[in-house]
Amino acid sequence: MRRLTWFNTTALTLGFAFLYLPMLILIVYSFNSSKLVTVWAGFSTKWYGELLQNEAFLNAAWVTLKVAVISSTFATVLGTMGALVLVRAGRFAGRTLFSGMIYAPLVMPEVITGLSLLLLFIGIGLDRGVFTIVLAHTTFSMCYVSVVVSSRLVSFDRSLEEAALDLGCSPMEAFRLVTLPIIAPAVISGWLLAFTLSLDDLVIASFTAGPSATTLPMKIWSSVRLGVSPEINALSTLMIGIVAIGVITASLITKRATLRQQAEERAAVKA
């Protein structure tokens, strides 16, 4: 009984208009030549030009990118290990505490995570800067990676791995040659998730950054607090564009990969 009644059509149209109109307006008005953001005065790309000359923004963008790449990579390694522990390691002392520590950061308010990490860094006398933001981001995003990867591991057929072991692989080889390729899509989406979480984070970075490092969200924050500005509109448009292209490409690639994998599996069954 899949039918597109007038009710469903209206709900979908209004719903998606609500989700996308604000961003669409932002994009359109980023090409507004007027300094007064809400008054349309003609098409112009001058705010993009100004943005590219704004050293403070470029520096902040560079810091953010660095933090995001490093922290999401660490988070993916640690998070995948965490998922293997959750799903594979069986019983060990302190298992409940471990799974608690994996799930708790997901629901922890950011202000508390930020505050607690800052107090730790000050307590042990660590100079705050890019390094401390990386530590903070790695910690909370590894938990997201763990959740994503463990959901894939649960549905994973262990007999494949056992077969590899029986055929003479070492456990490490079996992991590298069998397990990793199969959980790879989940590991990649975990990395992407960690990467965007890090790019996006304002609150935790503000607590843990210290005076020496400023990330892009922190820079946007301090400018946005003063009101709407055409430069921020231009910056937002660039960020929305990059994300949209990234997400669409990623989903096309995973779709092709799954289709290929399914085809290979079918071929293997026949052979």
Partner: protein, 296 residues
Amino acid sequence: MRRATLILVPYLWLLALFLVPFLIVLKISLSDTALAIPPYTPTLDFSTGWQGFKDFWAELDLENFEFLTTDDLYWKAYLSSLKIAIIATLFTLLVGYPIAYGMANAPDHWRPTLMMLVILPFWTSFLIRVYSWMGILSNEGYLNQFLLGTGLISEPLTILNTNTAVYIGIVYTYLPFMILPIYSALERLDASLLEAAEDLGCSRLTAFWLVTVPLSKNGIIAGCFLVFIPTLGEFVIPSLLGGSKTLMIGKVLWEEFFNNRDWPVASAVAVILLLILIIPIILFQRNEQKQREIDG
């Protein structure tokens, strides 16, 4: 040996960077404010041995928590956060359910696209999505321009810097969290049940209330918790869209820490916020557990 390494690395990482920091917050919430660096006493000095530890322990007290109960700013902020989070969650449900319903009933080949359209905003910057409403809701904003232009109103509406703007911001940013669990519950719904209800004389609307809603209950509950829990400690939305009268505890904590530099009180605020959050988190976990058991 290998298994031990596998367990120890993430374990120690989380102990050092999640549990220990949290214990520090707990400890500082029991300390006294001091005009020093760090701005609280007592500090634990391991060189003084057991006696030092006992002295340290004796100096911890619940003074900050007593302070929180005497100054009505704090409990008002907790109550107001709860109120805003509950109302915003209900609004999100009202907006999200029809969208999820529409998606679940859309033709099969549309659904991957619709799904991606719901997830896409989630990947774009939270800060930017909140910011996009500042231009819409301000006095000279696009919404007021539109309404004045069509002649629906003659005076601009004041929406930005009020609680209304905060509700709009929350519904907008957390909508995907509400849609996705409800959609996945509705998608699994067996359409023949609805046909049976209609055959047995239910109207479409009654069938919806008696069959669809109860069967999507777990999705509704999950969605509500996914919106409610992060909203309670929200900082960005009330700071950007709310006014000086919008009291939310995340904002109070931030101001206590950065503006007043009162670390012990900020820590006490954090501890209480977590205590409040424990209940919905446990209820959410139970709901998920139940869902997993049903799924087998």
